[in-house]
């Protein structure tokens, strides 16, 4: 609202000498007037939403279209070829929603991970002193950024499919991994009793690494001596579970895929749709992230770099310890919106048959039950929640990265 509203009720007496408290004096008081207009605006918005909802409900009833959320408990009756949880044709539409949501989150999380790595590498590469690296990075950004995402997705998918052989002539890696035009088939781990212990040790190793980091920091503050935290943590996180695995009598076994009839049986089949989607989304979003990173690094004054060099820090350390932390303050907010875009863009997967939320729930389920209003409201609410969650995490990270003035 306007900033003209004074901070409290003032005793406004107009120049004409009307009685204080009369209607016009009340209306001429900018504070009360502000309140009235805000109340009016809220009333308009609420009334508008009320009217739209009422109108929708009436029209649905008039057209004899079923409504309500009962369909979530009805049997779906169709199959989904890639699911992180148990799913069969007998499952409900509610289960379909869950499968689609998990598939969306899986593909968004993987893509965010890779897009961030590629984006940072290319972004730093654009500022490299090496001519070739600089030009290659620039070319990557310009090409990928200026092609519509759907085209990239379709291109990657069809291109990937065209080069890969049929299941009978799969590319094989180590004899147990197979890649063909259906997907990437890997051995499937089977967790027997005692494997819970390994998981527990893995968590314990994570916690221990955290404490090692805290202790190393404290020691460096006091003595200046550095401790190889990264390698220690790596050793803990990988080493301890492996040792436990052998001590517990190797409780994890593997089911190896075998070629039977049309395709491999057994093992985990990571469908090519997911691979193509992650490749395309990562590449596309990375080109935007690269520009954000470049801008962030350029925003750090060159004096910082020179000061670091004069202290004898190597260029690598300067970038890692001086430039990037300061650049992050500028990078994180636009990076957040790139993450949000990526998550929402994952819905384009419907074009290449990856069974994510929009494809299975707002697609197949919607068509079976025909209740567009309910299905789309749920879908929209889910994307909104995902976006808000991402924002929340990134804002929290941003606050922890903010310049602390002492």
């Amino acid at each position: 609202m306007s900033s003209e509203g004074s901070s409290g009720p003032s005793t406004a007496t107009s120049a004409v000498g009307r009685k204080k408290g009369s209607i016009s004096a009340f209306l001429n008081n900018s504070y009360y007037r502000g309140i009235i207009f805000q109340a009016l605006t809220i009333a308009l918005i609420v009334g508008f939403v009320w009217w739209v909802v009422g109108n929708t409900v009436t029209n649905l009833a008039e057209r004899n279209i079923a409504s309500g959320f009962g369909f979530l408990n009805s049997t779906a009756g169709f199959s989904i070829n890639f699911s992180l949880i148990e799913y069969s044709e007998e499952s409900t539409h509610g289960r379909v929603l869950l499968v689609g949501l998990l598939n969306t989150i899986l593909c968004a999380a993987l893509s965010i991970f890779f897009a961030t790595i590629i984006g940072f590498v290319v972004g730093v590469g654009r500022l490299s002193s090496n001519w070739l690296v600089r030009k290659l990075s620039a070319a990557y950004v310009e090409i990928v950024r200026n092609v519509p995402l759907l085209l990239i997705i379709l291109f990657v998918y069809i291109a990937v499919l065209q080069v890969l052989p049929s299941p009978r002539n799969s590319f094989s890696l180590f004899g147990d991994f197979f890649w063909n035009n259906r997907g990437l088939v890997t051995p499937q781990p089977v967790f027997e009793s005692g494997s819970g212990l390994i998981f527990f040790v893995f968590i314990a190793a994570l916690v221990m690494s955290f404490f090692v980091r805290m202790w190393a920091r404290k020691r460096q503050m006091e003595t200046g001596a550095q401790f190889p935290v990264f390698y220690t943590a790596l050793g803990l996180i990988i080493g301890l579970p492996v040792i436990t695995y052998f001590l517990a009598g190797q409780p994890i076994s593997f089911v190896f895929p075998e070629l039977k009839g049309f395709n491999f049986v057994g093992g985990i089949n990571i469908v090519n749709e997911l691979l193509a989607l992650v490749i395309a989304l990562s590449m596309y979003t990375a080109s935007y992230i690269a520009e954000i990173v470049r801008a962030g690094i350029l925003s750090v004054s060159h004096g910082q770099t020179e000061a670091a060099y004069s202290l004898g820090l190597s260029p690598g350390k300067t970038t890692r310890l001086i430039v990037i932390p300061q650049a992050m303050r500028l990078i994180i907010p636009p990076l957040t919106s790139q993450y949000l875009n990526l998550t929402k863009n994952s819905s384009l997967a419907a074009a290449i048959a990856y069974p994510e939320l929009v494809s299975v729930f707002a697609g197949t389920s919607l068509n079976q039950v025909g209740q567009a209003v309910e299905v789309l409201s749920i879908t929209m609410a889910i994307y909104l929640s995902l976006s808000l969650l991402t924002s929340l995490l990134m804002n929290w990270y941003n606050a922890s990265m903010a310049l602390k003035e002492r």
């Binding site: 199959s79 044709e89 065209q162 890969l164 049309f262 068509n367 039950v369």
Partner: protein
């Protein structure tokens, strides 16, 4: 709070209200027939391109047996079969477009089913093609029956009954399978062509049409099994009986014309026929057109400009077209098929 910002707020609110009001006038105040007559054309919902059923040619003219239903309605209402505008719809959008009044007729190779007829606020007014879901495979797989497809990957597209039928069929026969469901038929066919799936499934008429788009159409074969009943027909909004009658009888007129051997070439001569069936149909006797709210020459115009059912069939999907579909179930009841229209009397 300046005057200007107040005014802009009021304008904004007003504008928003008007916008929504404009969108929501889909609330049918008047009957579809008088609306159509008022605007001067029929808005017809068709597919995004299915050869033989509804497909735009190089110059943008739509052709196909589904398109002919819309043209027949336009001929009946306006005496001019060209007064049709087309809205290409995906399987997903089609019912919403009809419910919301965006289109007047949905004539888009759409299967009539109880769920759709009762819960979606639409009415199916006839069947213009009796179809069933089938499978297409590569010839070199050596598969001769759908029962040999255990463990196969199956490509199809979302938003149809095909996914459910595949699930029912494979489960009933205890065969594992993998379904790969694409948003659009084009991507589904392209992926099947690239080897992503062993099988492509949709309505059998669609298989013949999609086979034309493959790189080597002779390397693929349509399996004999039909795994479902897919009666395809035009649909209108529920609750407008007058308009439903117009569409239903436009389709029936084409079938009755075939039965009476009245074609687009002989219809003028037939006006002088002594046969009471033909006289009633062509509006020489009785007031059947007026009962529909149209002119008595409604059926004459359909037959003259669109042709009878047989002409439409042979022109678009018949044995002499690239699709090469025989009449089969879609032959008249007098010729061993099941196409049977109620009489005009």
């Amino acid at each position: 709070m300046s005057i200007r910002s107040i005014l802009s707020k009021i304008l904004l609110a007003g504008f928003g209200t008007v916008l929504v009001a404009a969108i929501s006038t889909a609330a049918q105040a008047q009957s579809t027939l008088s609306q159509v007559q008022g605007k001067g054309f029929v808005q017809c919902g068709v597919s995004q391109g299915l050869p033989g059923f509804s497909n735009p040619d190089d110059s943008g003219n739509w052709t196909g047996i589904d398109v002919d239903v819309c043209r027949a309605v336009a001929a009946a209402v306006f005496g001019d079969a060209d007064k049709v505008k087309y809205t290409p719809l995906s399987a997903k959008e089609r019912f919403t477009a009809l419910q919301s009044g965006e289109i007047d007729i949905l004539s888009r190779n759409t299967t009539m089913s109880m769920q759709r007829d009762t819960a979606l606020g639409v009415n199916f007014v006839g069947i213009n093609y009796y179809d069933g879901q089938g499978f297409m495979v590569r010839k070199d797989l050596g598969v001769t029956s759908a029962l040999q497809l255990s463990g196969a990957s199956v490509c199809t597209n979302t938003g149809t009954t095909t996914e459910l039928n595949v699930a029912d069929y494979f489960r009933a026969n205890n065969m594992p399978y993998e379904i790969v469901a694409f948003e659009k038929a084009d991507e589904g066919v392209a992926s099947y062509d690239a080897g992503r799936c062993d099988v492509y499934t949709t309505d059998q008429s669609g298989l013949y049409a999609q086979r034309l788009k493959l790189t080597d159409k002779d390397a693929h074969v349509v399996l004999p099994e039909l795994i479902s009943k897919e009666p395809l027909g035009p649909a209108v909004r529920q609750g407008d009986d007058e308009w439903a009658n117009v569409v239903r009888w436009s389709l029936n007129a084409m079938l009755n014309a075939e039965e009476a051997d009245v074609t687009s070439s002989n219809v003028d001569r037939m006006l002088g026929s002594d046969n009471p069936i033909i006289r009633r149909m062509l509006g020489v006797e009785g007031s059947y057109g007026e009962n529909l709210g149209l002119s008595n020459r409604w059926a004459y115009n359909i037959i003259k400009q669109v042709g009878n059912y047989s002409e439409s069939f042979e022109r678009n999907v018949g044995v002499n077209t690239p699709l090469g579909i025989s009449r089969g179930l879609n032959a008249l009841w007098t010729d061993g098929g099941i196409q049977y229209a109620a009489p005009i009397r």
